[in-house]
Symmetry: D2
């Protein structure tokens, strides 16, 4: 249940409502909006039904939340969330781009990539230091060394750093170097990891699982928010289907659906979503037109020499063309209010 | 194999090449472009390899076509195809919209819908007279009566008519009333039906099968072209996946992939593709940004009273808003050459 | 709704019930069992609710059928159906095997195959004369010539003939030569074809569509039964999933589910279901243990020379081994009543 | 590459081969069979190609391993592996059953369940103490308390204990109480967890991921074996498809495929695989007939009161019937060598 207070509700009235809720054994989650305060109620629905909160002073109305996720629900938190990552705001109308190589391969490769990423206008540098790979014999990432290069690249370019964390034990280290923690598709239901990043104070980028439903994805985000970390951005990266031409099937309908069901920002990764560099630009354009808050794009100085995911990485020239188009498109859609 | 003639090749030279190909038992398919003539060769690859066509007078070069579909391949026909439907051109840069109710339910309903469709700026009226339904006890369409209403609606509005044909026996009748024959998703591999519309002189709209790969879809189109009908437009309408929130998963990557692999125009149906009216506008915008040549959209005067697919039909107000946005978007992308 | 009459209900009582149902505009479907007569009622549920049939003389009780398919439902027809194909009974406890090559390639190949099939103990010879192929340039079958060879092979071996019909226009010809008409996976929702075989007097083998749900499959069968042909056998042949190792994913759970929801017999095709000859025997064994009424298996005298589906065809030796095991297994399960 | 030594190879010869391999920077994995020693070689293929091992004394031959997984491959280890779990052998011909409730709910519930499980003839008690749940608000398991009840149930019944471990931090605790560690479907690609159980000395039950390919699954097992723990049993538990009737689609073809590609034992979980108690018996029978080494089955004293997965749990009566049938079936197949 969500309790919406009047715009002129007094703090004593809010406090009284919260106490009433607590008195019957339910929990609260308070969202202080610019105009109104909203109180989320978590717990047994049959107890909520007997609360008769609407009669209390200062209460505008109470609304039943129909889904089993609460904190991520738009019913619970009607305003769009804006996630601030070291000063860069995700959500709320500006197009954010996270670009870079799949994996940090060397200091030189990363710096070269970072300069290209910066020149194209992206705000974030991406790059994996810990790589979850299907085979134990494949390149597993440079780990701490990779994290240090990422931090150096931030110094060099001013780009914010987003990088994947795959284990609870690595959170502290990754959080030391990165501005935003990425939870990869394979770990979307690694609930221990979700809980632990929920207890950190770093913003989290939560990728959709390989074959996760939108409902499961929102519940995964709920794990993070329910531990106290409200700074979650979702990332659609394609789902597993029978189609063989593409690596995954990029489910762009997730953008509009998440915007309808949740207040969290959502970005799109057309590189993993298609697995083909040729399809990155059309799907990046489509994502922006569908209302995505940002893009995650793989760029490599020399895609044919990449240690992983070369076939889906843009070369510098195509990256610049794509950036030019997507930023113009985003600006037009915003200005014209389409 | 595709033989590309010099831009100044003489007709005798072209004729000589064709005769040479025929002399070894292979077939030809001739595409006369504005600048060059291209000759497609169909048959045994080992025989082709011995042809030594490149040495003949007037020949620029010959190119191996790597796919097992030929006539629909961009290797075979490098220029974009433009399909002319009763004067309206599909492909080549203008956004085409086909809109209307899922099914023709009555003369009044159809006329009301047609007026709305026209007012929104679409060029085509869609509406099923023959409805393939999962259950034999569900509404199966008004059949010939429905076709007559569609023809009347054309008189009334000037809109072109696209409607589904489900059986070989009905092609002649449907072709009498409609401007374009639609092959529905369930019939994408009804090869007898494909062959037969391939022998008609009406343009064909070929929807992607419920769980068809892009490769199978292009081969289905090949069935039509190989019978002589080159006027085929493809329509992405969503594929079957595990996701339960949407009716289908709209695979927008198909737009860029088809544009890469084939010269045929492609349009997108976000109504069937999502099954949710709220998701129609964002996915229509995305389809345009991805490079689609057109849209197919369900509109109903009173969606809540529709005999089929009410939950995915736009009401008039949302239809007008969507049209306004998609046409502005298409114009911007074209003007700016994004 | 299903009306179950008392075991000693008189024919006048049955007649009176039927007339009562007809008098309010509903239709009936009568199943005369050994002990009881059951009357199925089709039409508007709100009218049924007002019928008060239970008070009529000779009526045991009436039961609501919850699914939207009726005639195929076990609620409607509680006893197992046994389908008689030219004297061979499918359903009711004996294991039926349909074996043979994917396609009829020549008189010699078919006769050689038929002799092997017979020697292994199968009761049916399968073989395609009309082949629905993804590409228009692939081998499309010998058509009428193939049908004649099949009929000759029947003379030679006594095996019953099951073969695919792909078009309404071909039903009459195929029915002249075959004992059982097969509707292939690609035509499971070719509703015109379903209706037309529903009007023929030949038993029908209805394969599950490439990506059909069990619910859609039962509705497809309902199209056939609703036209009067009750002799339908279902065939599970694998569904389309993301798994790449197998051609399809054989959904053996369909056997138990169909046995629960419907009275129709069900057989399993492990050849198309896996696409790998090595997996045919384990999945044939599994199908029998799951309760399937029969198997459809591809056998080829020389699998490596097959014009289609060679990789999934058993060679004679493996076919004999498989038959030996499945018949022993079926006998054991029946005797022990497992 | 795999090097197969002669049956009478001397230990010095084996040692010489190993040293030669190590001298060029490659690693070895030695399998000492009853008759022969086999040496697996891991590392750069181009270096292997130059080794000319076949000329060395005592070497029978060397074989290229074509897959990118090695230690789990049957090419690498041709004999069937038998995994010993506290004296119970999995693989090698006996049917093993692991049964019990989805979750440990209370001491009483578990003891009641354990007595039923034992009475039915199963060798293992299953039951989750740590439950990975879609929603953070769902029952998450009794954790250490649940583990203690499991250990007590072992004392009471003699059943071996298999239970899920979801986090690296919990491995030590779970290993203290359990005989076998289960890695659940959601953690199949939690590579840190795989590595860590690979370093423990407990046998591991590795469930197939929700939408994992067989190739990915075998690579996940390779992570465990490559850390030194060879005692891995695979468990097919259904994959995610579009079908809505069942919770998952149980891919029984995995049994025959794993038996072909790998030497590891494989068991089947028809409870999660179908999500419907009615389908558990037919699919358990099918799994045994397909060649599975065991079954994992959910049993609950009162399925309708279960805190999770009640609809797929067998009641005691149906459990006993199922056990009776599957053990008879397994015995028959073994005796008759089908």
């Amino acid at each position: 249940m969500v309790i919406i207070m009047n715009s002129d509700a007094k703090s004593e009235e809010i406090k009284a409502v919260v106490e009433r809720v607590h008195s019957v054994g339910l929990k609260t989650h308070i969202v202080e909006g610019e105009k109104k305060t909203i109180i989320g109620v978590i717990g047994d629905k049959s107890i909520m039904a007997r609360l008769t909160i609407d009669a209390m002073s200062g209460v505008d109305k109470s609304v039943e939340v129909s889904s089993s996720y609460k904190l991520v629900s738009r019913e619970f938190h009607p305003m769009d969330s804006i996630v601030d990552v070291a000063g860069v705001k995700i959500g709320g109308g500006n197009l954010i781009v996270m670009a870079g190589p799949c994996a940090v391969e060397s200091r030189e490769q990363l710096f070269e990539a970072a300069d290209i990423v910066k020149a194209g206008g992206a705000q974030f540098l991406r790059g994996g230091a810990y790589k979850p790979r299907t085979s134990p014999y494949a390149f597993q990432g440079l780990e701490t060394e990779g994290l240090k290069y990422l931090a150096e690249a931030r110094e060099r370019t001013g780009l914010k750093i987003v990088t994947e964390v795959t284990e609870v034990q690595a959170i502290e280290t990754v959080a030391k170097y990165a501005d935003m923690l990425q939870i990869g598709a394979r770990n979307m239901q690694n609930f221990g990891l979700l809980r632990e990043v929920g207890r950190s104070n770093k913003p989290v980028l939560l990728k959709r699982g390989l074959a996760a439903t939108i409902n499961e994805w929102l519940h995964a985000a709920e794990y993070i928010l329910s531990e106290g970390n409200q700074n979650v951005v979702l990332c659609e990266r394609g789902i597993r289907t029978y189609e063989e031409y593409t690596r995954n099937t990029l489910d762009l309908s997730a953008v509009g659906i998440i915007n309808h069901l949740s207040h969290l920002p959502i970005i799109v990764d057309p590189s993993h979503g298609t697995g083909k560099w040729r399809q990155v630009k059309p799907m990046a354009m489509a994502a922006v037109a569908a209302g995505a808050d940002g893009l995650m794009i793989e760029v490599h100085p020399n895609p044919e020499k990449a240690l992983s995911d070369g076939t889906q990485s843009l070369c510098p020239e195509n990256y610049y063309k794509t950036m030019n188009s997507v930023f113009k498109l985003a600006e037009f859609i915003k200005t014209e209010n389409l």
